[in-house]
């Protein structure tokens, strides 16, 4: 009886990502499928009405270039779109505008930690652009169609079949997600379907050059599901081969309740997509100067940035918190070209902002907080212009409503009082109210000074400069 150890697993992963553009891929409708009531982002183009024509969204192309660069792909100087023909109720034109012969990017790589613990470069075969379909909402016998998602810019990223385990596939998908978020290409929110992964799995006896018959596992809800499905398929294929059978080429889904895969479509039902060049769209030239400009605008590579944070002394728990909250890109932008204050900003982000994320249940990228005002708020604290409490109030306002740090500090009266006269006035008022304590102090009970100091600070609504207040108080107490 042979066992699973006798087989070599081969996996290729295809990932679809919705790009963070303002408008859709081929029309001017807003790209915000979740933020609008159903069928509100709908025009003749996204409805596939007769006579409607696509116009390429340059911003989607730009994000595609950015992704291809971040994944170290070769970028084709002239690209074009093809029609991928199939009929389904969620596909308004009966074809999807996609890329086939000349994708935007080819032959890149992404480094992961392989099963042997060493760095492993996962070869990326292609990065191409296409459009999303409508969303189907099934209710009983009927299916409802939401056109809002129709025409949302999608990027497809396909690896070579070089992954060897469910663990590696999961690691690759997580790393890819982090890199895309870090580079501002997509928000990749899995719960909103902004990132979807599919895996092609096959096993073959070790030593054989043939990869074996593959099965395709569709649209898993999460990366851990993909891993479970891959591991299930490895066992299932091994069982079939051990029994002398043959694996059937088919598309399968993952049933997380029963922890198994199930047949969705057999090879006989496979589509012939009848690709041909999209005649409504002339080829797009990606001028080398354009690509160079985008290259110059990229943040430093994700792995380099992680390495730098470590070398600056940031610990693994902090790095884990930053990556878990998709905050590396945010931090990078807050640090900006200046490169200083990295650790300071990172610590404040982790301590203050993530606690807001936890208390509100609102992820950082869904808050109103922007990197530049965040940096300014930290600077106000550092410069002593606000105290800790004022800083937290500014952050909360920025998080909930957005805006500029200084404007909020001024409007909400959070700037520290540095006016000698105002402080002296407050001291005089407090001293006249607490004459017994003053007497005690002067009688040598120095400990009451702290209580008096507290009263003064309260009188100043906690925004007196503590150092200045202390000095002036000592002067008044004599």
């Amino acid at each position: 009886m042979s066992s699973r150890g006798d087989y070599l697993t081969t996996i290729g992963v295809e990932v679809h990502v919705e790009l963070s553009t303002v408008t859709k891929m081929f029309c001017a409708c807003p790209n915000s499928p979740q933020d609008l009531p159903p069928n509100q982002a709908a025009c003749p183009v996204c409805l596939g009405l007769p006579g409607a024509l696509p116009v390429v969204n340059r911003e989607a192309i730009r994000l595609g270039i950015r992704a291809a660069l971040a994944l170290r792909c070769r970028i084709n100087e002239t690209i074009w779109f093809e029609r991928k023909n199939y009929i389904y109720p969620d596909l308004v034109k009966g074809y999807q505008i996609s890329q086939y012969v000349r994708p935007l990017g080819e032959w890149g790589w992404l480094a992961i930690v392989g099963d042997d613990g060493e760095e492993k470069k996962i070869a990326i075969r292609r990065v191409h652009l296409e459009e999303d379909t409508c969303k189907l909402i099934h209710s009983g016998e009927n299916a409802l169609i939401d056109v809002n998602r129709s025409g949302v810019p999608l990027m497809e990223i396909v690896t070579e079949p070089v992954l060897r385990s469910g663990r590696e596939a999961e690691e690759y998908a997580r790393k890819l997600r982090a890199v895309l978020v870090y580079n501002g290409i997509s928000r990749c929110r899995l719960q909103h379907g902004e990132m979807r992964a599919e895996a092609n799995v096959s096993i073959a006896p070790r030593g054989k050059t043939d990869l074996g018959t593959r099965t395709e596992i569709k649209n898993q809800a999460g990366f851990n599901h993909m891993r479970s499905a891959i591991e299930y398929e490895e066992r299932r294929h091994a069982g079939i081969l051990d029994a002398g059978g043959a694996v059937r080429q088919e598309t399968r889904g993952w049933d997380d309740v029963n922890r198994r895969t199930f047949v969705q479509r057999s090879k006989e039902d496979a589509h012939d997509y009848r690709y041909f060049p999209e005649p409504d769209l002339p080829p797009v030239r990606l001028a080398p100067e354009w690509v160079e400009t985008e290259k110059a605008k990229l943040p430093r590579p994700y792995d380099d940035y992680l390495g730098e944070l470590r070398s600056l002394g940031l610990g693994e728990p902090d790095i884990e918190a930053l990556t878990r909250n998709d905050a590396l890109g945010f931090l990078g932008e807050a640090v900006g070209g200046k490169g200083d204050k990295t650790i300071l900003l990172a610590k404040r982000l982790i301590k203050e902002v993530f606690s807001l994320v936890n208390s509100t249940g609102r992820p950082l990228d869904e808050s109103k907080l922007e990197p530049a005002p965040f940096r300014r708020a930290v600077e106000l604290l550092e410069e002593g212009k606000v105290n800790g409490e004022g800083f937290r109030k500014i952050l909360e306002a920025l998080f909930q409503r957005g805006g500029e740090a200084e404007a909020i500090a001024r409007k909400d009266d959070l700037l520290i009082e540095r006016n000698d006269a105002a402080i002296e006035q407050a001291i005089a008022k407090v001293l006249s109210e607490v004459q017994p304590m003053v007497a005690e102090y002067r009688a040598g009970k120095k400990a009451v000074r702290n209580a008096i100091f507290g009263r003064v600070m309260k009188e100043l609504k906690k925004k007196g400069d503590p150092k200045l207040v202390g000095e002036l108080l000592d002067l008044a107490l004599g």
Binding site: P44, L47, G48, L49, P50, G51, A52, L53, P54, V55, V56, R83, N85, I87, P89, V92, K93, G94, Y95, A143, I145, D272, R274, Y275, F276, P279, D280, L281, P282
Partner: protein, 496 residues
């Protein structure tokens, strides 16, 4: 001054503009006369699927368009639009049952340009279903008859636009031309039809047959009217990615139209006038145009574009491939005709099986087949290569020549209902589809009447040289008489 429909039918578009400008004619008079003309002829000719004279008149009255004497050039001019161009709030069928109840929420760019120039759309004209066909018989709304002889076909697919203009129901109509669909019915109905350079007129809002070949253009009774309409509808459109920068920079067509042909270099291929099943009178029509051009001072030599003979094969592959995808959207899910079925796959096949006519199904099948795995290289790619080579041949020719003259169709219009074979109809497109494959402007204009039927000739030029074609057509027009043309009649002729 009220005018009768018979007077209206003899009016040119320019005369109507002058009449309204001089306040001798009111726009209302024109609209009423156009409607009256349709009342007389439509039962015989069936040029219009949906009449819009009432609604257009109401809209125009409501917006004061008919009274105000703005500077808009087509103010109050009755026109018609082929029913594959989207008209906001007005049913647009593409000649198909599958869109029998479809009311688009937007105007095609070309229609919007006509409207904003002040034109009044009187109707949506009949066509071969989805512009597939060259006889006017493949319409779900009945065939259109030829106003010269209602027993004959008007040609197609812009059958209704050509017939309506020919009987004087409108001063101009828009057609679309994928392989000759403006030029061939124009020739069969004795009117002027222009297929502009690919990219000169926006395709936005044109129900697509073959996206890389389709182009909208005008059909009119006179050459000057045609140039005037083209100048109104052409121009770059940000909504059509294939609309060309040259659409804005090309010379306008009307201003130099009277300059004649003196010094223009022309060519024709006598070889094309032999064989090809060509009627002797059609060959004579081309020779007559050559003679008139020479009289006008043009230098006419012989030249050949040999790959034209492979055009039919390349065209029907490319056109069918693109059409098979363009028509996939008609599935009964979101709009249009829908036939219920057991599950969604039944709905698809029932809807499409009953919504489309035979010619449409034939082309969807041919296109799907040619694009299938294992056949793509042999068909689509090969056809695309022939297309490129043909374009190169034309490019070489137009380095030394301004205009290439050739027939429009090999034969005169055949009797209605006398169904020729499919291949025979396809082969009839041999002279027109080359200009679509190469993206070049081509005009069809009458040169005379032979045995009571008009004969047209076709002229092709280099990209954005429509103005040269108009100069030639205008020079020939001055020497052409179309006796007993339908627009000179008080009522339709009886079918023979």
């Amino acid at each position: 001054m009220k005018i009768t429909h018979a007077q209206f039918a003899r009016l040119t578009l320019e005369e109507a503009i002058r009449g309204t400008t001089a306040a001798e004619l009111s726009a209302i008079d024109l609209v009423e006369a156009s409607a009256a003309r349709m009342n007389v002829f439509e039962s015989t000719i069936n040029a219009v699927i949906t009449r819009t004279d009432e609604v257009s008149r109401r809209n125009a009255e409501a917006s004061g368009d008919l009274e105000t004497s703005g500077r808009r050039i087509l103010r109050g001019i009755p026109v018609a639009v082929k029913d594959n161009m989207m008209t906001r709030g007005i049913r647009t069928t593409c000649g198909s049952r599958i869109l029998e109840n479809f009311i688009p929420p937007y105007d095609a760019t070309a229609v919007a340009r006509l409207k904003s120039a002040g034109a009044v759309v009187m109707g949506k004209t009949n066509l071969d279903e989805f512009a597939m066909g060259s006889t006017g018989e493949h319409s779900a709304y009945g065939p259109t008859a030829n106003p010269w002889d209602p027993g004959r076909i008007p040609g197609g697919s812009s059958s209704g636009s050509a017939a309506l203009v020919a009987y004087g129901g409108a001063l101009a109509a828009l057609g679309s031309d994928t392989g000759g669909s403006i030029r061939q019915p124009a020739a069969f109905c004795g009117v002027v039809g222009m297929k502009p350079t690919y990219g000169r007129v926006s395709r936005y809002g044109l129900g697509a047959l073959a996206s890389s070949l389709d182009q909208i253009g005008p059909l009119t009774r006179t050459v000057r009217d045609n140039a005037l309409i083209l100048d109104v509808i052409s121009g770059r459109d940000p909504l059509d990615s294939t609309s060309a920068p040259g659409a804005d920079s090309a010379p306008p067509c009307l201003p130099g139209i009277e300059e004649g042909v003196n010094g223009l270099k022309m060519a024709f291929d006598p070889g094309l006038l032999r064989g090809n099943g060509i009627s002797p009178a059609i060959a004579d029509a081309v020779r007559r145009a050559v003679a008139l051009a020479r009289e006008g001072g043009a230098i006419v030599n012989e030249a050949a574009v040999p790959l034209i003979k492979y055009g039919v094969a390349a065209y029907y592959i490319i056109c069918s491939c693109e059409a098979s995808a363009n028509l996939a959207r008609f599935d009964g899910v979101r709009y249009g005709f829908r036939r219920e079925g057991g599950d969604i796959w039944d709905v698809f096949s029932e809807t499409r099986g009953r919504g489309f006519g035979d010619e449409v199904k034939r082309r969807i099948m041919m296109g799907s087949y040619a694009l299938s795995q294992g056949y793509y290289d042999a068909y689509y790619l090969k056809a695309a290569r022939v297309r490129r080579k043909l374009s190169e041949e034309f490019s070489r020719l137009f380095k030394t020549v301004d205009i290439f003259l050739l027939p429009v169709a090999p034969q005169f219009p055949r009797p209605l209902g006398a169904k020729a074979g499919v291949m025979e109809d396809y082969l009839g497109d041999i002279f027109t589809l080359a200009a679509n494959l190469a993206g070049l402007p081509a005009i069809s204009f009458p040169v005379g009447v032979f045995a009571d039927l008009p004969a047209g000739v076709q002229a092709v030029a280099g990209p954005f040289n429509e103005h040269l074609l108009y100069r030639l057509a205008r020079a020939v027009e001055k020497n052409t008489s179309l006796e007993n043309a339908p627009w000179t009649l008080a009522g339709p002729k009886e079918a023979k």
